[in-house]
Amino acid sequence: MIEAMGILLGLGVALGGGLGVAARLLKVEGNPVAAEIEEMMPGTNCGQCGHPGCSAAAAALAAGSAPVSLCPPGGKALASALADKLGIVSDLSGMADRGSVIAFVFEDLCIGCTKCLKRCPTDAIVGASRQIHGVVDDACTGCEQCAEACPTGAIVMRPETDTLATWHWPKPADRLAA
């Protein structure tokens, strides 16, 4: 009786002590998840999520105070990747996947005000004052900041269409779908 109690007590003290030591020795500074999430974000700091930048958004995600579907440019792909990363089971079926979009400038509406140029986080719009602006497709992330800034509504977001270089075979329709 006494023996058993002694053994259990000893075990408890030893293991508890071990845990205490481990907690101090192996303590992780900061939140490594936040840094890893930040790596996954688009990194344009466009602010569409309502956070002041991708870094702040990552911190909010890591803290669990923001939904994985917060990032419009990242779309459904990023949302599901984030859900995987955070181990969240999230129903994304309701999330409209707008696909990837890029900005397009209607030349007859553009007045060459350069407001969009200044807002673009990736310098994807080229042009100069009083000249029609154009979009460098490869650099555009579809963050929509330029569309908001345009005073004449000359910028719209268009879905990025497949080209011969980017097209790939679609996934076969699930069997017996008919």
Partner: protein, 357 residues
């Protein structure tokens, strides 16, 4: 079809189909089944038909409940085959509910509970057999001497129907145990093997099937004939049957040589019970066997080893059902570990290296 976008290749096909494969297996089963039906008469025919029909009905019901296209799957032949194989493993004069229950366990629990065609881990027919054997040991071990159709001792149509509906307790049948059952009991009573076998059957009746046994498992010759047909039509590969037969022959041969009074000889081991039936029709089941040749060798050898152990050292006279189910459980592991060697890579998956040129 909701075929949007281009249709991928290849744009020609071998003509193989699930239905064709199942059909060939059915053809291979015909000789042994026909012999069984002949040898055990009308009651066997009733039991066989009842089981097959029940299997199709359970299949239709399961498909309906699962929301799958009933017509497409019901006629792919897989349910027919499952019912058929279940029927072949039953005592030939078992009552109707044994067949219906067996079909239920095989189709609903053994197949559809796992997700339907292609998804089951365990062989449905073997699940049914083990379920029935454990639940109804009396009904499942009442074998009888063959009474060929229209022979003097065989029951007539009306009597047969009565046997099918109520069981054959009322009919004056001499039920007898199978050879393996007899041996197990006698050995348990301390009789030496040569004494038991001397008043039992010879090898020839075992081979042609003139012995008590399950409906479709008695005629070794006809089962092998069906198996050879499947090998010739490339429905099955040689790996699992050969591994199974070789392992059993080697194991039982070794033990028999060591102590002929205690251990059965290899020929009797191979020819009796479900062994050859399992070698050609059970361990070759696509869904529940490994995918590679090496995997199939391991699988077949494992089944034979476990069968021998159970037959020889455990309480049951026949061990194939348990052996198959146990080995079924190892198939995912076998498939994970045993993979074919990828072209241009070593077995461990590294690219082949040549001498620096």
């Amino acid at each position: 079809m909701t075929a949007r976008g281009p249709i991928g290749g290849p744009h020609t096909h071998s003509g193989a189909s699930v239905g064709r494969t199942m059909g060939l297996v059915a053809v291979a089963l015909v000789p042994a089944t026909a012999y069984g039906l002949y040898a055990f008469g009308w009651p066997a025919l009733f039991l066989f038909s009842g089981t097959v029909v029940a299997a199709l009905l359970w299949e239709a019901l399961s498909l309906k409940l699962a929301g799958k296209p009933v017509r497409l799957f019901l006629f792919d032949g897989s349910a027919l085959l499952t019912g058929w194989i279940v029927a072949m493993t039953l005592p030939p004069w078992a009552p109707w509910w044994i067949g219906v229950l067996g079909a239920f366990v095989a189709i609903v629990l053994g197949k559809h509970a796992f997700g339907g065609l292609g998804q089951n881990v365990f062989n449905p027919a073997m699940i049914a057999r083990i379920f029935l054997l454990i639940s109804f040991p009396v009904e499942m071990t009442q074998f009888l001497e063959p009474r060929p159709l229209l022979s003097p001792g065989a029951p007539g149509l009306a009597e047969s129907l009565a046997i099918f509906v109520f069981g054959h307790a009322g009919f004056d049948a001499i039920s007898s145990a199978s050879l393996l059952g007899t041996v197990k009991t006698a050995l348990g009573q301390g009789t030496a093997l040569p004494d038991i076998l001397s008043n039992s059957h010879g090898l020839l009746p075992l081979a042609i099937g003139a012995v008590p046994g399950s409906l479709g498992e008695t005629s070794a010759v006809l089962l092998v004939l069906g198996g050879l047909f499947l090998l010739a039509t490339r429905v099955i590969t040689w790996h699992a049957p050969v591994a199974m037969i070789a392992t059993m022959a080697a194991l039982s041969g070794g033990f028999h040589l060591a102590d002929p009074a205690r251990f059965l000889d290899p020929a009797t081991q191979l020819l009796s019970g479900t062994f050859l039936f399992a070698a050609f029709f059970i361990v070759t089941d696509y869904v529940t066997a490994p995918a590679t040749g090496t995997g199939k060798l391991i699988f077949g050898a494992g089944v034979a080893f476990l069968t021998f152990v159970i037959r020889t050292f455990a309480a049951y006279p026949e061990g194939i059902g348990f052996a198959v189910l146990l080995m079924n459980a190892t198939v995912p592991l076998i498939d994970h570990v045993v993979r074919p060697r990828i072209y241009g890579r070593t077995r461990s998956g590294e690219p082949i290296r040549y001498e620096e040129r």
